[in-house]
Structure formats: structure tokens, C-alpha cells
Amino acid sequence: MIWQLDLSVLTLIVLCAFATIMVKDLLSAAIIFGAYSFLMCLLWTEMGAVDVAFTEASVGAGVSTVLFFAAIYQTTRMVRPRRSAQWLSKAVGLTAALLTGLVLVIAEKDFPDFGNSFSPASLHLSPYYITQTLHDTNVPNIVTSVLADYRGFDTMFETAVIFTAGLAVIAILRRIKKNDRYELPDRSVISEGYPDTIIRFVTRQIVPFIQLFALYVVAHGHHSPGGGFQGGVILGASFILLAISYDFKIVLGIMNEKTNILLGNIGVLIYAGIGFLCLLLGANFLDYSMLSKVLPATDTVMARSHGMLGIEIGVAIAVMAIVISIYLNVASHGKYDKGL
């Protein structure tokens, strides 16, 4: 850790956060928020949390910025001033924020110092993971083993949360009927241009490599930063790139609505199914060591590694399908006809 670098990055983060709130143009706010995410990612890399930084870079800076753009494209770009009760709501909001901040500052005093080696977490839990992970699971990346094995139950419901988010977006936005009642006037955000040869060509060249990299991230998550979430988001982002720069219809042809929902279900089902398979084989839910009875030529240690790979694949499939589905719904206003 270099505290000068930390301090400068942190200052920029706070500035970005303020700028995001103050700016009246929502498109600018989305871009500044993307910069905020990238700075956050830098800070986490600098603190050694590379997996978290990777997630922030792919989810926070990448996909969510595009989703913001799609939402702004479908709604409105400028913040409209509120007509009444402006000062009252501002005062209430400020009081609530200040009170919450005060509570957090007071509670912060009871926390152990950052990096304190005598805090309870550093005395009992972390040393166990650091010393025993390789012995227990044969996975060098401790973060992946904690995420997918020791706390697999937690991660399973994170996947379920993402799945639920996708379902909610479909339930709210998807419109089967072809009425244009909700056509909004402000379409000047992004011009509907002619197909551009340069952009199309480069997209066509790059997308296969992006997808290959995503598969590498999923499969190599045991040894290097990465895993199901990051890989799935990158896979989804490659399809979003195709939809934006190539053609909305092509992506619909590859990943139509039915495929998306089916893949999202299958992904969650793979995760839970592996858990239930462990249960059937006589172990606890998501205790992969019993999978050695099913998998050929594995002992109980290697089975845990393979079990993690299985659930990472499930997570990647679910996240990819849900990210694509959310984008398609938001960008086309639930009509699946044309996007950004």
C-alpha cells in the first residue's frame, strides 16, 4: 500500500461521487459514475482485492453504465426541477443522510483498525483460509474457494438475487402488445445512424476474443482473479456490444427471449442441482467432497475443486443470460424491436 496513491485516488472518488449527484445532465452523470467505478477498481487493486476490482470493472464500470445509457435513452436526459415541496424534501433528505452518517461514524469507533492483525477476523477466520485452503480444496485462489465452497450457500442466493432482478425487469418492462402509448419525446440522446463499416468490422473481429477471454475467466477462476460472475458479465457484455454496434436483431436471433429465460433458469439449476447431488450422495448441501463418488479419478480434495468449477459455470450461464435479458428489455423499452 502506498498511502499517497490511496489518498489521491480516494479524493478523486469523492469528487466523482459529488459530481455524479450535482450534474443535471443524466448522461454525464452516468459517465462520471463509470469513472467513479474505475477509480474504485483502482483503489481495490491497490489494496490487493483483485477479484473485487475485477468485478467492479466488469459490472460497475462496464455493464451498469451501458444499462444506465439504455434507461436514459428510453426516458429523459435532463433532470427536471421539481415544482413543490422542494426545500422540505431536501431538508428531510439532508437530515436523514446526516443522521445515518453520524450513526456510521459512531459505530466505526468499535471497529478494529484497518489491517489490525489482532482483530477477531484476522485471528481465527483468515488464518484458517490462508493456511488450509490449498490443503482442503486444491484451489490456489483463496477468494474463489471462500466464495464458491466455504460460503457456497451465500453465493447461491446471490445468483438467485441476480435471477430475480432479471425476472423483475421482464415483469415490469416487457410488453407483448404493440401499442406505442408510452413513446417518449426525447429521442435526441443518441441518433439513429446508418450502419458504420469501421465499427461493424472491428466489433466482428473483437467479439470472439472477448468471449474467449470470458470463458478463460470462468475456467481459470481457481488460479487467477475471476470466476463465474465476472466471466458471465463479460460474456453478456460481448452480446451487448454486438447489439449496440452491429445489430439489435442479430442478438435477438442468437439469444431470443425464450433462450435467455431458459439459460437463466438452467444456470441457477446447475448451482442448486450440484448442491442437491451432494445431499443425495450423503453429504451436506453444497459439500462437494462427496462428488468424488460420481466423478471418475478424483479424491475428496480434487472433487471440491471440480465442484467449484461446476457451480462457477452455472453462475456464468445465469449471469450472462440475465445481463443480456435486462439490456434487451431496457434498451427496447420491452418491445424487442430496436435498441440503442
Binding site: S188, S191, G193, D196, I198, I199, V202, I206
Partner: protein, 114 residues
């Protein structure tokens, strides 16, 4: 080897500085994107190349892999950054931003547009 790395890194820094000055000082959208696209690509490559060289100071497989990965990032930037610049400029052109000229009455108009 170290001297080459330092010289390339310094060249990258100089080009990054020039890019920043260009973005801040150039008169209109197109000129600014011109500075951003070209300067960013070149200076990123000038920074990545010495990093690859530096990680390759000792001949073995792991260092070679790291160097190749850094160079692959360079290839990606070399393809993606000019395309992104092109896309932004294309969008600006379609949105009807007029290029800057030296005539004074258009100057004030373009200051508003930029």
C-alpha cells in the same frame, strides 16, 4: 534494458501530457477527439511496451507469459481505442456539431456547442 524502459515510459508520459493539454486547449469537439484518440493510443502503447520489456528481464516461462499478456492488452487498445474515437466523432457529426473555423462569428457559436 532499464534505460530503454525508462526512456519509453518517459516518452509515454510526454505523449499523455500532450494528450491532456490537447483535450483541454483545442477549440472544438473534433480537434479534442483528435488529440484524445491518437495521443491516448500511442501513449498507452508506449507505456505498455516497456512494462512488457521490464517483466521480461529474466528469461523464463512465467515472465514470457506476463509479457505476452501485456502485449495482448496493447493489441486490444490498438484496435478498440481508434474505433471508439471514430464512433464518438461519428455520433458528434450525426448530431450536427459544426467544425471550428477561424471566423469569429462561428467561434462563439461553437463554444456553446462544445
Amino acid at each position: 534494458m532499464t534505460i530503454v524502459v525508462i526512456v519509453l515510459l518517459l516518452a509515454g508520459l510526454i505523449f499523455f501530457f500532450a494528450t491532456t493539454v490537447g483535450i483541454l486547449r483545442f477549440p472544438d469537439f473534433y480537434a479534442r477527439m483528435h488529440a484524445a484518440g491518437k495521443g491516448d493510443t500511442l501513449s498507452s502503447l508506449l507505456m505498455l511496451l516497456p512494462l512488457a520489456l521490464y517483466s521480461f528481464h529474466e528469461m523464463n516461462m512465467a515472465n514470457l507469459l506476463v509479457a505476452v499478456k501485456i502485449l495482448l492488452i496493447g493489441v486490444f487498445i490498438f484496435m478498440a481505442s481508434p474505433t471508439a474515437t471514430h464512433a464518438i466523432i461519428d455520433a458528434g457529426y450525426e448530431a450536427g456539431i459544426k467544425p471550428w473555423t477561424k471566423k469569429p462569428e462561428e467561434e462563439s457559436e461553437n463554444d456553446l456547442a462544445a
